[in-house]
Amino acid sequence: MTARSVYLDHAATTPIDAVVAAAMAECMQLSGAFANPSSTHAFGREAAARVSAARAQVAERIGAEPESIVFTSGATESDNLALRGAMAARRARGAHLVTSVTEHKAVLDTAKLLAERGASVTWLSCDSDGRIDPAVLDDVLTDETVLVSVMHVNNETGVVQDIAALGERCRARNVLFHTDAAQSVGKIPLAVNRIPVDIVSLTAHKLHGPKGIGALYVRPGVSLAPLQFGGEQERGLRPGTLPTHQVVGMGEAFARADPASDSEHLRVLRERLWEGLAKIDGVRRNGSATHSSPHVLNVAFPGVSGETLRLAIEEIAVSAGSACNAETLESSHVLTAMGLSDALAESSIRFSVGRDTTLDDIDYAVQRTTEAVTHLSGFASSAPSWCTS
């Protein structure tokens, strides 16, 4: 790493808050709440008490009752459990699933698997802003529709979907509504007691909590089939020894998130970043600027390859397209769904700010990016239009 490095990839993952880390450490050693929360002895009961406090913290952040929270290993597992669990539990109703082309891979790939196994899947598309029109559900929902799954905040663009309007249309047709809220909690409001959403995927590590722990909110009365077997933990929906330190870390992270002040801070940083970058010739912002989560800024730099730009500004940690997995380098399905050419999608970069980001970090990122784009543009002064549009 060079002398100065700036982390602007908080949509990929965040560092763990020091207070959260301290709470986790408390649950590790013999003198702390390290035990198996299912054990009936005093050590176990102490761990169980921590788990139940954490469950209440997670529930409270989204306006839910503690009993509706099922801990999982992360949003990927939550998405798998939501889609497959709902489709299996309501097989009597039908096998129609509705989801969107801009979902995270955990939903996309699970929907594809369900399609292979005989489900009929309707893929909703988005407009050039990345938004889905809730009214399309009127034409799409049938009496055989089991589930609609549309994410709350897109991980590549930060675009926010109108989950209240989507959920209402589902509710009216007695269809379950699932939303992947991995990116939204703590950044924009989400209250399951106010909007008709039935199942919500959550994860701790996008909000300064630990990786490897997440949850599924399941509205009371909604039943899902389990994905894994072998224990009565989490009401039989998710077996395995509950990782006390991880659960406690998630609870603490959710409790510490202060959506009002946090999102104001994030928004200020993100807008300063955009103001700076907007001065670069030809740049464009990808996705709705109004319906967007305050932590993500996705920008296309026409005429400069994104891979090259990322190397040129390597001391600034950012992502190209979907950062959840860099082992595959394909152009973003989200940006192309919004109408961007492959070249423009490839020339796009996701910047994402977090609680630890400073104004200085932003100014440095703007300066370095501007220099790099100016320098790199010199390589392709006569490039054809497909490279720049």
């Binding site: 390859s305 891979e307 070249a343 790199l376 392709a380 490039a383 497909w386």
Partner: protein, 123 residues
């Protein structure tokens, strides 16, 4: 993705990118592969049978840009026939280009070959 120091250096301080000033005795050609997201334009200046100068303009990933820089840099002083005898393998080795990117470097070969064709037509 790992990048060798040679790739980094050529990205930061390219040796022969840009356009030649004089248009006498010169030829230029482009090649691209949109599915690989690369485009290149090569320009050479000949004096008799000798390439006296060469420049490129390119769009693509770091290995592609550095590859163009490395290959084109070697042209000056060579006989024109060198345009069709490009040592892409040497560039791959010198720059540590990963296997899955070698296809992109062949696009540079194409541009040089197109240049060579133009020179032989005008000769």
């Amino acid at each position: 993705m790992e990048y060798s120091s040679e790739v980094r250096r050529r990205l930061e301080r390219p040796s022969c990118r840009g356009v030649l000033a004089s248009a006498v005795g010169s030829a230029s050609a482009t090649a691209e592969d949109r599915s690989l997201n690369v485009w290149v334009r090569v320009q050479v200046e000949v004096d008799g049978e000798t390439l006296v100068a060469a420049r490129y303009d390119a769009y693509g990933c770091p290995h592609f840009l550095a590859g163009a820089d490395w290959i084109v840099e070697r042209l000056a002083g060579q006989p024109a026939a060198a345009l069709t005898e490009v040592a892409t393998g040497d560039a791959v080795a010198a720059l540590d280009v990963p296997t899955e990117k070698i296809g992109k470097l062949l696009v540079i070969e194409d541009a040089l070959a197109a240049c060579a064709a133009k020179l032989s037509v005008s000769a």
